[in-house]
C-alpha cells in the first residue's frame, strides 16, 4: 500500500526530471490587426524609473497623435536590462513572437542584423534626418553599410561627484586626470567617506582604458588587448587606489544597488555612471539634501570614452503595412521634440544637431549645467565593439578583473590568461 504510493510519487518526480530539459520562454503577443483595421504593434524597451516613464509617455503621445490619425496602436513592454531584452528577443524570434520595434544595446546590433532579424531602415529614414544625428553616435548603426539602428537613448559614461562632500573637504574642482582623482579621493578620507567607488562594469573599464590610449579589443575586433600596457596601467591604477587612495570596489551582482545606496547615504563621493541616469541621480540628491556635480571621466593620457545606450530597431518578418507603421513610430521617437523630451527626462544625450541648437536645450544647460557634460564629452566618444563573441569575452575580462581587485592575484598574469581565452572567443565569431 505504502509502496504504490511511493511509486506514484517517484513517477511524478521522474516526470519532473524529464522537464529539466525543458527550457522555454513563452510570450503571448499577437501582431495581427483587429477587425477595426487598427495596426497593433509591440515595442520593447529596457530599464525602469525615468527611462520607463519616458518610453511609456512617448508611446502614449504617439498613440494619441500620429497613431490615432493613421490607425496605429503601439504597446510598449518592459523587458528588463539590455541583456534580458536581447535574450528574450532571441527566443521570441525562434517562436515567431517578436515585437515589431525594439530598443537594442548598440554593441549587439551586428549580431542581430547579420542573423537577418532586423530590417534595414535606409528607405524609411530620410537622408536629411540621417545626416542630422551627431556623427559620434552613428558608428554602431551600420552593418555592411546598411542602416539598422537609429540613435535613441544614447549615452556616454560620465564622472559623478557629490559636490556637498567636495565643499566640506575644501575641494573646488572635479579631478581631470588619474593623479588628481587619487589625490582628491585621499583628501575625502578625512570626512570618513570613500573617495572613488567603482563597479565591475566592462563599459567603465572600456572608458578608463580608452582614456589611457588603450582599448579592450583590437580595431578589427579579433584580438583581446586588455592585457596590453595601457589597459594594464588602468587596472594597476585602480588596484593601487584601493590600497592607498581611499578607493572602494563594489563586487557581486547587486553591487550597483549597493553603490546607489551608498551614494544616497553620502558614503561615497565619486563614481562613474551612464548619463542616462543623470536626472534620476539629481532627483535623489535633491530629496536627500546634497548636490551632484558631473564632469568628464578623469583620464590617464587624453580624454576618450565609449558611447553606449540603445538604438531603436525594426524587426524583419513584418508585412509592408506593419513596416510602414513601425517606421512612423521610429521616426516619431527620434524627432526633435521627442529627442529634447527624452534628454530632459532622463539625461540621455540629445542625439541631433538641430536639437542641441534649439533654445529649449540652451535654456536647460543654462539652468542645469550637469546635463551638458555628456554632450561635451561626446567629441571624444567612439563606438563599442560589435563582435558577436564580445559579450562572452567581456565576461572573461571582468571575471579576471574581479579576481584582481578582490585577491592578491597578479594583474598582468590574470589578464594575460584572460586575454588568451577572450581572443579565442573573438576569433570564433569573426
Amino acid at each position: 500500500m505504502r509502496k504504490t504510493k511511493l511509486n506514484k510519487l517517484l513517477k511524478v518526480s521522474l516526470a519532473t526530471l524529464m522537464s529539466v530539459a525543458l527550457f522555454g520562454c513563452s510570450t503571448n503577443k499577437s501582431e495581427s490587426g483587429g477587425d477595426s483595421g487598427v495596426t497593433e504593434l509591440t515595442f520593447w524597451y529596457s530599464w525602469q524609473d525615468k527611462v520607463a516613464e519616458n518610453n511609456l509617455e512617448l508611446t502614449q503621445k504617439f498613440n494619441d497623435t500620429i497613431g490615432k490619425e493613421n490607425n496605429i496602436h503601439i504597446t510598449a513592454e518592459y523587458q528588463g536590462t539590455y541583456d534580458d531584452l536581447h535574450a528574450k528577443l532571441q527566443s521570441a524570434f525562434v517562436a515567431n513572437e517578436q515585437p515589431a520595434i525594439s530598443v537594442m544595446e548598440i554593441g549587439s546590433i551586428k549580431t542581430f542584423a547579420s542573423a537577418g532579424m532586423l530590417e534595414p531602415l535606409d528607405s524609411y529614414i530620410s537622408d536629411e534626418k540621417e545626416a542630422n544625428f551627431l556623427p559620434g553616435l552613428m558608428e554602431n548603426s551600420y552593418v555592411d553599410s546598411k542602416l539598422y539602428g537609429v540613435p535613441y537613448l544614447r549615452s556616454t559614461p560620465i564622472f559623478y561627484y557629490n559636490k556637498t562632500l567636495f565643499d566640506q573637504a575644501g575641494i573646488s574642482e572635479a579631478p581631470k586626470n588619474w593623479e588628481e582623482l587619487a589625490n582628491v579621493s585621499k583628501q575625502l578620507e578625512s570626512l570618513g567617506v570613500k573617495g572613488f567607488g567603482f563597479l565591475n562594469d566592462v563599459w567603465h573599464f572600456e572608458a578608463l582604458t580608452k582614456g589611457n590610449g588603450g582599448n579592450t579589443v583590437s580595431a578589427d575586433e579579433t584580438t583581446a588587448i586588455f592585457n596590453q600596457k595601457e589597459a594594464l596601467e588602468a587596472v594597476n591604477f585602480l588596484k593601487d587606489g584601493l590600497a592607498n587612495s581611499n578607493f572602494k570596489y563594489y563586487s557581486g551582482n547587486n553591487a550597483s544597488d549597493t553603490l546607489s545606496t551608498e551614494q544616497m547615504n553620502q558614503k561615497v563621493a565619486m563614481w562613474l555612471g551612464s548619463t542616462g541616469s543623470l536626472n534620476n541621480t539629481l532627483d535623489i540628491a535633491n530629496q536627500n539634501g546634497y548636490e551632484i556635480g558631473t564632469a568628464f571621466i578623469p583620464c590617464g593620457k587624453a580624454y576618450s570614452v565609449p558611447t553606449g545606450g540603445c538604438n531603436i530597431v525594426m524587426t524583419s518578418k513584418l508585412s509592408d503595412k506593419q513596416k510602414e507603421a513601425a517606421a512612423m513610430f521610429i521616426n516619431f521617437m527620434t524627432d526633435q521634440e521627442q529627442v529634447i523630451y527624452s534628454h530632459k527626462k532622463t539625461g540621455y544625450l540629445p542625439t541631433t544637431t538641430t536639437a542641441i541648437d534649439s533654445d529649449e536645450i540652451k535654456a536647460l544647460y543654462e539652468e542645469t549645467p550637469q546635463f551638458k557634460v555628456a554632450l561635451d564629452q561626446l567629441q571624444y566618444g567612439s563606438g563599442r565593439p560589435m563582435n558577436k563573441g564580445y559579450v562572452e569575452a567581456a565576461k572573461v575580462y571582468t571575471t579576471a578583473l574581479d579576481k584582481i581587485f578582490t585577491t592578491n592575484e597578479d594583474p598582468k598574469a590574470a589578464l594575460d590568461t584572460a586575454a588568451d581565452s577572450a581572443t579565442k572567443i573573438l576569433q570564433e565569431n569573426k
Partner: protein, 292 residues
C-alpha cells in the same frame, strides 16, 4: 471486429492526452537538445553548422566547465545533506501533537510556498555586506562584516543557506507525517525489551522513515541540480564564476553568448548525470530501504 479494435484502442485513447503532453514537452525537447549539441548555431541565424563532437571536445577541455560541475555537486551535496538533516531534527523536535507545534510547523513550512524570486530579493537585502540585517546583527557581536554574496569563497554557501531555509519546511512536514504513521505497538514492544532511546531510533524510527528519506533525497537532488532562479537573481553565476552551475551556464551560453549548440551539450551532460543518479538510486538504495 470493429468493437474489438475499439476495445484494444481504448486504453491508449485514455492515456493519449497525458502521452501527447509528455511527448511534446518532455521527449521532443530532449531529442531536439541532443540533436542541437552536434551543431554550431546562434539560435537565430537561418543556417546551422554540423560540427560533430566538437562541442563535446571543447566542453571537456574547458576548465570553467569543471568549476561549474564542482559547484553543482558541492551545492547539491550541501543542500540535500543539510536540508534532510535539519528536516529530521526539526521533525523529531515537533513530533508531539500540541497547538504550539502545529503553529511552529506552519511557520517552518511558510518559506516553501513563497516564490523564489521574492525570497531571492529578501535574502539579497539580508545578506548585503554594507547594510544587510545579518551583518548588522553579527556586528553587535563584533563579527564581520562578511561579504556573503561578493566573496567567491562564500557566495556558494550563502546560496546553500537560502535553499536549505526554503526547503527544510517541506522536508520537515513530510518526515513528520512519516514519523506519525509509525505504529505505536513497535515502540511499546521496544520499551518492553528495555531498548534505550538510541536503539529505538536506529532500529525502529530510522528504518520506518527511510522510504520517506529516500524519496526526499531524490526530489531534493533533482531540485538542487535545477537551481536557477536564485542564481539568476542574486549572483548571476558570480563572483568569478563561483556560483555558476550547470543549468545557469547552460542559460548563459544559450541565451547570452549565442551558442545554443554548446549550451545543449551542457544540457546533455546534465541529463546523463541526473539519469545516472536515478539509476543508482533505483538499483542500489531501493533494496536497502525498509518497506512496510
Amino acid at each position: 471486429m470493429k468493437n474489438e479494435l475499439l476495445k484494444k484502442a481504448k486504453p491508449y485513447l485514455f492515456v493519449a492526452p497525458a502521452l501527447i503532453i509528455f511527448l511534446v514537452f518532455s521527449i521532443y525537447p530532449i531529442v531536439s537538445m541532443i540533436q542541437l549539441s552536434f551543431f554550431e548555431w546562434d539560435f537565430i541565424s537561418p543556417t546551422r553548422l554540423f560540427v560533430g563532437f566538437k562541442n563535446y571536445i571543447a566542453l571537456f577541455q574547458d576548465s570553467a566547465f569543471y568549476q561549474t560541475l564542482s559547484n553543482t555537486f558541492v551545492y547539491m551535496i550541501l543542500t540535500v545533506g543539510l536540508g534532510i538533516l535539519f528536516g529530521v531534527l526539526l521533525a523529531l523536535f515537533l513530533n508531539k501533537k500540541s497547538k504550539v507545534n502545529s503553529f511552529m510547523q506552519s511557520i517552518i513550512f511558510s518559506p516553501y510556498i513563497v516564490s523564489l524570486a521574492s525570497i531571492s530579493f529578501l535574502w539579497m537585502w539580508l545578506m548585503n555586506t554594507d547594510f544587510g540585517l545579518i551583518n548588522y546583527i553579527l556586528s553587535i557581536f563584533k563579527i564581520g562584516p562578511i561579504d556573503w554574496l561578493g566573496s567567491p569563497k562564500i557566495a556558494l554557501f550563502s546560496l546553500v543557506i537560502i535553499s536549505v531555509w526554503k526547503t527544510v519546511g517541506y522536508n520537515t512536514i513530510i518526515i513528520l507525517s512519516a514519523l506519525q504513521s509509525i505504529p505505536k505497538h513497535l515502540y511499546e514492544a521496544a520499551s518492553l525489551d528495555k531498548a534505550n532511546r538510541r536503539q529505538t531510533f536506529l532500529k525502529i524510527t530510522f528504518p520506518m522513515i527511510s522510504p520517506t528519506l529516500f524519496f526526499l533525497t531524490i526530489v531534493n537532488i533533482i531540485a538542487s541540480f535545477k537551481v536557477f532562479d536564485t542564481i539568476q537573481i542574486i549572483t548571476q553565476g558570480g563572483p568569478q564564476n563561483s556560483t555558476n552551475t550547470l543549468v545557469y551556464s547552460l542559460y548563459e551560453y544559450g541565451f547570452k553568448f549565442y551558442k545554443i549548440g554548446y549550451a545543449s551539450t551542457i544540457g546533455v551532460v546534465l541529463l546523463v548525470i541526473i539519469s545516472i543518479f536515478t539509476i543508482i538510486y533505483f538499483k542500489l538504495l531501493s533494496k536497502k530501504v525498509h518497506y512496510q
